[in-house]
Symmetry: C2
Subunit: 337 residues, 2 copies
DNA sequence: ATGAAAGCGCTAACAG
DNA sequence: CTGTTAGCGCTTTCAT
């Protein structure tokens, strides 16, 4: 019912109310050394009384904000949810808070969101931005330590956490080959063509290399689509209507695989699909998506750990690579495929 | 390759480099009135040169941060993704940036995350926190305008955006009744029992009222589970093993429904399931989840609009309610159910 | 059109 | 153990 909007009390108000100095309040705030219990009591009471909240922005001008920013290109991709879960777990019990900045749709590289985070004085950034140039990222890393998720370049300016995408793609392809498939299509994002060292670029390249090595070039087929299940579904739907000869599909990640499955199920086509990541829904019996699992939570936790090391003073770059794992499943909705 | 970590240039550095005053740089920054083109040129060049980034924290001490904070209890729930999509769309073309703060797992009310946002000086907050008390929220709304998502209380201190949960639950139940079901179970969150005016509380209450009105109390059954598909799946799995007599299940939201479907599909039980929200995956043919659709994107956009109105000076509270809609589907994995 | 100067809320020496 | 003081980087009158 406070009629006015006094935009909150300040440290000075608290100090006055408690009859102490601002420094004293500040110390209580940070529970720094050198405050008597009596004073702490009084100050806390005054804070309560005044509904006081410290302005981190003001604190930021001197030191840390205890905030980690995570930039994501696609909130709907549940692999990132796993990553974040791991990051949050690693941060549990610390003073750090996570904020997530979604890249605007259409902005292909996510740089704007990363910059927004940096401008807001986060102490460190974890970002998923396969299309950003190393130069842009190096420019950013001047302002805050940066861990890039899923990149395979090895700049000195930022750390990276990635999966072994070549090994993973190989697993996927070998699985399909063992099943006897010879006409295997690939569903990937447009970026795969341009950013050859991005996860999708590597998976595509590996797909092509294996098809060639197996003498199956004639049976290969690459379908492109934008991010997301809907775009994947539409792309495959269109492809099925035209000249489709493949018996299997390697989708560059699970969201695409699930979108493809949508079109395939609707068209009642007997096509084997394999995805990548192992998002939570992939294991649903109705979907039963065979996929290549990446340890998302561990990767997220590692990203946080790398950031903390940087905050503790490390200056050389670290590049962590995680091994993927094949997960074979079957679906109740498309038995025997 | 900048070896030192000078933590970035400041406005003073830019001013010096461009040979102008700090005020001038500030004006260019905000493209305020009264800067010659020549000066703007020079200043922009200097900024580029120095890799300058304005510190929003410093700006925050005077005015706005142009940041909207969104607190979410469960990143994995795709309904919130739809909400955020709507919010981002509404903000497109403005200077505002969205940051998302995930509530820590286990913290039942999400208050800490909301406070973290407020402490970081966001200009406004959208929050999903059915369990928070009105008092706590009113305390927060002193510091920043607040729009609560999915609450049915009507405090004067904050706005609300919610769906008509009673109407929605009624739709769901009537659908099952029309199908001829008489033994209908309900799967809901623990909070539904305590927070009677939360969405889940209302959906549960409506379920009970209808079962009673139809004289089907003997066939009713309420199963509780924690948030998320896994918890839902386990709860239903356990229930199925014991004394299960229901032929239909009304799950309080789609994530729970999908989790339940997991257990039901695995147990090969012929049970009709209806969810709530209509998350994107619900329409997948392998799942074919019948559900009650809420217009998530519109609700998110509306939340932003309410926030902007508050920032423009509105002081009376507004409470928006959206009408849900029944979406009937069928699944390829469990045909005829 | 441009600049000087005050001050936003907080922290971090340093004195007492 | 407590208080004084000097900024942090930016915006914003108010002069010039």
């Amino acid at each position: 019912m406070t009629s006015a909007k006094p935009r909150g009390a300040t440290i000075t108000d608290v100090a006055t109310a408690a009859g102490v100095s601002r420094a004293a309040v500040s110390k209580v705030l940070r529970d720094a050394y050198g405050v008597s219990d009596a004073m702490r009591e009084r100050v806390n009471a005054a804070m309560e009384e005044l509904n006081y909240r410290p302005r981190i922005a003001a604190r930021a001008m001197r030191g840390r904000t205890f905030t980690i920013g995570i930039e994501l290109p696609d909130l709907a991709n549940q692999f990132f949810t796993r990553m974040i879960t791991g990051a949050l777990q690693e941060l549990e019990g610390t003073r750090f808070q996570v904020v997530i900045a979604p890249a605007e749709r259409g902005s292909r590289h996510g740089l704007r969101a990363i910059e927004a985070l940096v401008d807001r004085q986060v102490d460190g950034v974890i970002a998923v931005a396969p299309r950003a140039t190393p130069e842009a990222l190096e420019r950013i890393s001047v302002h805050a330590p940066l861990v890039m998720f899923g990149r395979h370049d090895t700049s000195e300016a930022y750390d990276t956490v990635a999966g072994d995408d070549e090994a993973g793609a190989r697993m996927a392809m070998e699985h399909l080959l063992h099943l006897g498939h010879t006409r295997i299509a690939n569903l990937t994002l447009p970026e795969a063509d341009h950013d050859l060292s991005s996860p999708h670029g590597i998976r595509l390249r590996t797909y092509k290399a294996i098809m060639e090595a197996e003498g199956l070039v004639a049976g290969s087929r690459v379908v492109h689509c934008d991010e997301g299940q809907d775009a994947a579904s539409e792309a495959i739907s269109r492809a099925l209507e035209r000249d489709w000869h493949s018996t299997a599909l390697f989708a560059s990640h699970d969201e695409l695989a699930i979108g493809a499955l949508r079109a395939i199920t609707e068209a009642r086509h007997p096509i084997s699909v394999i995805g990548y990541d192992d998002v939570p829904i992939a294991s649903h019996p109705a979907l039963g998506l065979t996929t290549v699992r990446q340890p998302g939570a561990e990767m997220g936790a590692t990203a946080i750990r790398l950031l903390m090391e940087r905050l503790d003073g490390r200056t050389e770059a670290v590049h962590e690579v995680f091994e993927p794992e094949l997960v074979v499943r079957s679906s109740t909705s498309r038995p025997g495929i």
